[in-house]
Symmetry: C2
Subunit: 161 residues, 2 copies
DNA sequence: TCGAGATCGATCGGAACATGAACCGTTGAG
DNA sequence: CTCAACGGTTCATGTTCCGATCGATCTCGA
């Protein structure tokens, strides 16, 4: 008798624990999707980079130093969307660890140009393969063409003319 | 003579101020593109929401309250990728402004379920149209089909099975 | 029916991070 | 030569993150 009554209640009131939210207004909001995708991706990247003593930020700085574009700190700040004073701390750390060097730009002695040491390049190579592995893991459900398309579309958002 | 020597150096050493970085390793890195796209988008969204006294976070909470999924704080935290203790502060603020109410869930009296007041719904409607306008502005260079595709791909990243 | 253990929300404190003013040495224009 | 602007640094401030803990409530097995 009792059981019958319980079964009779049709709408489970709250069936899905948290998944229902995914179909809400926000689930269609690009800004929200960006925030959430970014949060998950960043967490995964930081976890993978931790074994190399890096985080996403220091990894980015090291990447640009290991590349042969010799960026000034100002350029790094603009590119990474950081305050110049944060770049100082980031480079201080990498420099203390011997991964990176500040060279004063001969063309403008106010500016520091960032270059990686050999040790920095080696560490970066190792970190990069960890990072790539993570990226592939996150995109397991995405075809290579869509992967490229996603990057292309994100570039439009990340670098508006 | 001197001039000749200087002119003889072929590579301009640093031609492009900061744009050269875009073509570096990172420019192909999905995680980095996400970070940067997210930073720009978030800044634009916050600027647009400021006139309504909201930020991206409080806007998201309000959106889910105004929707009729009656989320618990726990669910909000998981969905928005925030610490539960941060959700407390977010709701405190919205509740103080009369936009939102905590109702103890009759099915589990430990849990609070969040609902928007009429005033909250009205504010959300206004804020939502600001948010949509911004989103369209950011995607000016993207066709509607690509817009949809981008959302679809981001959803895969934001909600991995 | 009872009690042990888990869960929800709230609160607090310390760590990490963001933001902005003030500084010094350097640069480039007039 | 002077002076405003700029790159890098430092510091103070405010914001956000994250873990530990608490009281109330729920769940499950004995």
């Amino acid at each position: 008798m009792r059981l019958a009554i319980i079964v009779a209640v049709p709408p489970p009131e709250r069936a899905r624990p948290a998944d229902g939210l995914r179909d809400s207004v926000l689930g269609r909001d690009l800004s929200f999707l960006l925030v959430r995708a970014n949060a998950l991706t960043l967490a995964a990247a930081n976890a993978a980079l931790a074994e190399h003593g890096l985080k996403a930020r220091s990894y980015s700085v090291l990447a640009l130093a290991a590349d042969d574009t010799r960026p000034t700190q100002r350029e790094l700040a603009e590119f990474l969307r950081l305050d110049p004073s944060q770049v100082v701390a980031l480079i201080d750390d990498l420099e203390k660890r011997g991964l990176v060097e500040r060279r004063t730009d001969p063309a403008d002695r106010r500016a520091n140009v960032l270059v990686a040491t050999d040790e920095g390049r080696e560490l970066f190579a190792r970190a990069q393969s960890s990072a790539h592995a993570v990226e592939l893991g996150l995109l397991a459900a995405v075809t290579p063409e869509d992967h490229a398309r996603l990057a292309q579309l994100l570039r439009l958002l990340a670098f508006p003319e």
